[in-house]
Symmetry: C2
Subunit: 597 residues, 2 copies
C-alpha cells in the first residue's frame, strides 16, 4: 500500500514532468534532462537555447496549470534501446541515461501524460488532473546546475518548484521559509554586529565582533562552570602538531582529505624552489580534532585503576578544509571550536559514563531553551560490508555498538539506527534538536572509541597490578560553538534571553544635554554590578532611540528624562512590553541578579 | 675614571686569560680561541686534542689559583701582522682574528701575564695576584660551542667560570642560582603536574594538564573581568589567515623569518609531486600576531569619531617558529597566547589611552603579588641609522616616540631609552618586573603603531564629516600566558596564593574505612560553593598524606578523624602553619569567600 510519503513523492515527481511539458510548449527547442522530487517540491534541469529568467516563471507556471487540465493519466511503454535512442536522438543527455540503463540490464520505459513523454522509471500520480490542485504548487526559482553535478560538465538551467499536499500546506511552508529567512543567522549576525566572514582572512573562518565575542564568552563560561560541577577537569592543547602523531592516530590515513595540507618547516625558500629537501625537516598539521593531544597528556605519567574515570574537557579550535561550495555562515566552516571532552575509563565504567553524558546533554539543551521532548537521536553504526572505512576489529565494534544501543534504550531516547554512519574509530550517538520553526539541527555527539586506545596503547594498571587497556569516549555537547551560536541566533531570531544578551540594558537619555549625567551615573552603577549596559548618547529623538534599541533586540530599555533625574529613579521597559516605573537603581540591580526580570 | 661595573668586567676578563693560561699548562697542545667576560663570570673556548670532562674542572681551577700567584701585572706589546701571525702560526682561529683586525685597520696588541700571552684588546685588572681573591671565582661547567656561534664551523669546548667581587658575592650568587633551580618552572611544572612539552606533538608547544589548565582559566577569567571593567570589549579571531593579509600588514615582509611557512591548499598530492600549480590555490599562514584580524573587524563597517576609542581584547594564540636552541620551557615557545588588545583611537585620545594602559599594567602586577616599585621600563626607539628595518616615515616616528616619552615621564616610570629596539611598525614601552629572587622578567608591552593604520587605511569620519586616519596601540599585560605562568611558578615556587591554587583544599580522611563518608560530604559542600577541592582516598598513613599534600603545595588541608565526624566540624591546617579547629563547614566556606583565610 502506498503511504502518504510515497504519495507526496509521486505528486512532486509528476509535477517535474508537468514542468518539463510546459517548458517544451513554450520553448520547443529545449533539451530536458532529469527532474526528480525533492524535500520541498521538485526540479527539472534543462539545456535551453536561451535561458529564461525568474520573471518567466509566472508564464511557465501558468502553462503548467493550463496543460494540467489535459493530464488525465500516465501511460507507460517499454522501449528497445534503438527505439529509445531514436526518440531522443537530438538529446545527448537522454542518450547517456539510456546507455546506463542498458549497461545495468534494466528495462527502458517511457511515461506519457498529455503531450509530454519522458524517459522515466515511474512513480507518478495516476490522474494528475484530478489529484493535483493547481494551488498546491508554485515555481520557486532558477539556478545553474552542472549536468550530473560534475563541474567538468555543461552548466544546465534548473527550475525549482515547491509542492505540497494542498494549498494550506504550501502556504504554511512558504510562510515558514520567509520566517527562516528573517531568522537567518548570517543576516541577523550582520544586523546585530555579531560576526563577519572576511574573504581577505579566508572563507569559513569567522571573525567575532565585540557583541558576538561576549556572547561566546558567556556561553563558554557557562560551559566551564557546568563541566567543573559535573566532575570534569580542563586541559589545553596547541592548534598544530607533528604529522607523526596524526599518522599514529589514524587521522592522516582515514581523514586527510578533510585536513589542511602540512606545514613543512626546515626548508629555506631556495631549497623549496629547487625542490630540495632540507636536512632537518618537520611537518606540522593543523589539528582536525583534539584527541591525540589529550592522549599525550594521559600518557605523560602512568595511571592506575584508581585514577579513572578521567574526564577532560577543552574548547579546542580545530581546522578542516571543507569545500568552498559547502561552506555556509556559522553552520559549515573551516575553523571551529569543539566543546570537546574525552572520558578515559575502565570497561566497567563505560555504561555509567555514557549515561552521565546523555543527562548532561539534555541538561544543556534545557538550559538554552530547547524542548528536550523533541530531541531525536541517531545511533551511527559501521557498515559491515565496507570494512575498509573503519579501524579496529569486529569484536570491538560489536561490544561498543551494543553498549550504545543499551544505553539509548535505558535512557528512553527516541533513536534510530543508521548503518554506515559511524566514525572511522567507533560507533556514536548523534543528537538533533528542534528549533522554534521545527527544523532539526545536529548538535551533540557521543562517540565510542576503542581504536585510539589501541593505536596509542592507552593503558592503566588494574587492581592486580597488570596493564589493562582503557576505553575512550569522545563527546561534544554543542558540537561546535560556531554552529550552536548559529542555531541560537535562529532559534531566538536574535532576541536572546537576558543571560545571553550581549547588551542587557540600553539607557536612553531623552536629552543628551540635560540627562546624560544621570544616565552616566546609572550606567556606572549597573556596570559595576556586571550588567552589560550601553548608553545611546546620540542626538536622535527618543522615538528613534527606542526604535534603534528594538532593532538591536535589547531586553530592557531605561528611558531617562526630567522625572527620573529628579526622583532619582528609573523607568524600565522590557522588550516584551513589561514596564517598571519609579524603580530605584538598587532594586533594579537586585531584580536582575535574582533573575526576577 | 673606572666604575665598578668596568672593574668587574676587567676582573672577569682577566680570569678568562688565567683560565686559558692554566689550560695550556695542563693541556699544552690546546688551541685557545676567544674568552670574554659574561654576566656572571667568564668563559674561554678551546680546541682540545682530547676534551676534558667536568670532573677535570677542579684540577684546572687549582692550576688557575696556583699560577695566579705569579700574575703580578699585564704587559702589552703592539705587533705587526707578520709578527702576530708568526706567533700564532699553529692556531687558525687567532689567524682569522688577526686578519679581521688588519682589515679594520686596528692595532694588533698582545697582552701577557705570567707565562700566558694572548691576542687581546685589553681591559684587565692591573695586578691580578693582588686584586683577585682565589675565593671569588669558581669554574662552573663545560659546554660545546661552535666557533663564532656558527653551526657550520667547528665545535669547540667552552669552559665557563663564575666570578664576583669577593667570596661573599660569589657564594650568594651560587646560592641564589640553586634556589632558582629549585624554582625552575619546568621542574615545578612536572612536580605539580601542570604541563609538559611533548616531542611527539612538537617542541615549544606546551600541553596543559588539568591543574595547569585550571590555573590558566583562573587567570584568564580574572583578565576578562578586569578588561570588561576597564572599558574593553572582546573580539575573537582564527589562527590562520590568507597570506595576502600578512603582506598588507607588513609581517610577511618584515617578519617572515619568525613565521611558520605557508599552508598551500588547492594542490593535490599528485600536482605537488609533479610540482604543478593547482588551478585554485591559496596560501594560509599561522598568525604570528592578532593585529590584522582586529583591523578587518574594524573595517567591516564605517566608524565615526564618536565610536572611538575602541578597546578590543583577545587572548589569541599565535605561532612563531623560534629556533630549536632558543626554546626553553614556557618562557620561550613556538605557540603562545598573547593577552592582546588593540586600542583604536583618535590622535587627541592617544595620551590618555596610553596612561590608562600604564595604570592597568601596574594594577595587574599588584594583583599577582609583584612589587610595582621595582618595575623597570624600556622605551624602545628606532635606530635612525638603520631605516631599512622600520616601516613608516620620520614624522610618524618622531611624534610617537615623543608621546611615549612624555607619558613615561608624566607617569613617573623608572625608564631607560633603547635605540634600535623598536618594533618594525612603531616604538614601544617594555615593562620588566622583579621576582622574589630579584630576577627581572620581561612582561608587558605597550606599542604605538602608526603603520598598520596606513597600510590598511584605517580611518574614521571626523566631526567635519571628513575621513581621518586612526591610531592603534597594541598592548599585552602578561605578554603571554605561557611566559607569565612560568614567571608565577618561579615567583611563588609553586605555592600559589589561594585564589590561584589549582587545588585550594585537600581533605585527608585518617581512615578511608571510617571517615570517607564524612570526607565526601564535606567535599560535596565545598565543591558546590566553587571551592577547588580534592580528597586523598588512598590507603596511606595520615603522615604520608600530609607530606604528599605539602609537596603539592596545597594551601589548606582538612584532616578528618573521629572527632571531626562526631562533632560535625573541621580541623583546617594552612600551608603556612595556621590552624583552625572545630570550625563548621559553613563558617569555613564563608571565610574562604570573604578571602579571610
Amino acid at each position: 500500500m502506498e503511504n502518504s510519503n510515497d504519495k507526496l513523492y509521486n505528486l512532486r515527481h509528476t509535477l517535474a514532468h508537468l514542468l518539463a511539458g510546459a517548458v517544451l510548449e513554450i520553448y520547443p527547442d529545449t533539451l530536458p534532462t532529469i527532474g526528480p522530487s525533492i524535500d520541498d517540491g521538485f526540479y527539472y534541469d534543462f539545456e535551453f537555447k536561451t535561458s529564461p529568467s525568474e520573471s518567466d516563471l509566472e508564464k511557465i507556471e501558468k502553462k503548467m496549470k493550463e496543460i494540467l487540465k489535459n493530464w488525465n493519466k500516465f501511460t507507460v511503454e517499454e522501449k528497445t534501446e534503438k527505439e529509445a535512442k531514436e526518440y531522443f536522438k537530438n538529446n545527448p543527455y537522454k542518450i547517456e541515461l539510456i546507455d546506463e540503463i542498458v549497461e545495468k540490464g534494466e528495462k527502458i520505459t517511457f511515461y506519457t501524460s498529455g503531450n509530454f513523454t519522458d524517459l522515466c522509471r515511474g512513480g507518478h500520480i495516476e490522474n494528475p488532473n484530478k489529484e493535483i490542485s493547481p494551488h498546491s504548487f508554485k515555481l520557486d526559482r532558477i539556478a545553474g546546475a552542472y549536468w550530473r553535478g560534475n563541474e567538468k560538465n555543461k552548466m544546465l538551467t534548473r527550475i525549482y518548484g515547491l509542492a505540497f499536499e494542498d494549498k494550506e500546506k504550501l502556504e504554511e511552508y512558504i510562510q515558514q521559509r520567509e520566517e527562516a529567512k528573517k531568522r537567518d543567522h548570517r543576516r541577523i549576525g550582520k544586523e546585530l554586529d555579531l560576526f563577519h566572514i572576511d574573504e581577505k582572512v579566508g572563507l569559513g573562518l569567522p571573525l567575532w565582533h565585540p557583541k558576538g565575542a561576549i556572547l561566546w564568552r558567556i556561553i563558554e563560561d557557562f560551559w566551564y562552570k557546568e563541566h567543573l560541577k559535573n566532575g570534569y577537569d580542563l586541559v589545553r592543547t596547541p592548534h598544530i602538531g607533528n604529522r607523526g602523531l596524526w599518522e599514529t592516530s589514524g587521522h592522516w590515513g582515514f581523514y586527510n582529505k578533510s585536513m589542511y595540507p602540512p606545514i613543512e618547516v626546515g626548508q629555506t625558500l631556495e631549497e623549496k624552489q629547487k625542490n630540495l629537501k632540507a636536512e632537518v625537516s618537520e611537518e606540522y598539521l593543523l589539528k582536525p580534532m583534539n584527541c591525540p593531544f589529550h592522549v599525550q597528556i594521559y600518557k605523560d605519567s602512568p595511571k592506575s585503576y584508581r585514577d579513572l574515570p578521567l574526564r577532560w574537557g577543552e574548547c579546542g579550535t580545530v581546522y578542516r578544509y571543507e569545500k568552498k561550495g559547502e561552506l555556509s555562515g556559522l553552520t559549515r566552516v573551516r575553523g571551529f571550536t569543539q566543546d570537546d571532552a574525552h572520558i578515559i575509563c575502565r570497561k566497567d565504567q563505560v555504561e555509567e559514563e555514557l549515561k552521565k553524558v546523555i543527562d548532561f546533554i539534555l541538561f544543556i539543551y534545557k538550559s538554552f531553551g530547547f524542548d528536550i521532548e523533541t530531541v531525536k537521536v541517531f545511533l551511527s553504526l559501521r557498515d559491515p560490508n565496507d570494512k575498509e572505512k573503519y579501524a579496529g576489529n569486529d569484536a570491538g565494534w560489536d561490544f561498543t555498538e551494543e553498549v550504545l544501543r543499551k544505553v539509548a534504550i535505558d535512557k528512553k531516547l527516541d533513536f534510530e539506527e543508521e548503518k554506515g554512519e559511524a566514525a572511522f574509530y567507533g560507533p556514536k550517538l548523534d543528537f538533533k534538536i528542534k528549533d522554534v520553526l521545527g527544523r532539526m539541527w545536529q548538535c551533540s555527539t557521543l562517540q565510542f572509541d576503542f581504536n585510539l586506545p589501541e593505536r596509542f596503547n592507552i593503558v592503566y594498571t588494574n587492581e592486580k597490578g597488570e596493564e589493562e587497556r582503557a576505553y575512550i569516549l569522545h563527546r561534544a555537547l554543542f558540537g561546535s560553538f560556531e554552529r550552536f551560536i548559529g542555531l541560537l541566533i535562529e532559534h531566538y531570531a536574535g532576541a536572546f534571553p537576558l543571560w545571553l544578551s550581549p547588551i542587557q540594558i540600553k539607557i536612553l537619555p531623552i536629552s543628551t544635554d540635560k540627562h546624560l549625567d544621570y544616565a552616566e551615573k546609572v550606567y556606572k552603577e549597573l556596570k559595576e554590578n556586571n550588567i552589560r549596559v550601553e548608553i545611546d548618547d546620540s542626538n536622535e529623538t527618543l522615538g528613534k532611540k527606542i526604535r534603534n534599541a528594538k532593532l538591536e533586540k535589547i531586553p530592557y530599555l531605561i528611558v531617562i528624562g526630567d522625572k527620573e533625574k529628579e526622583s532619582n529613579t528609573l523607568t524600565v521597559e522590557g522588550r516584551n512590553g513589561e514596564k517598571l516605573e519609579n524603580i530605584a537603581i538598587i532594586n533594579l540591580i537586585e531584580k536582575l541578579k535574582e533573575k526576577k526580570l
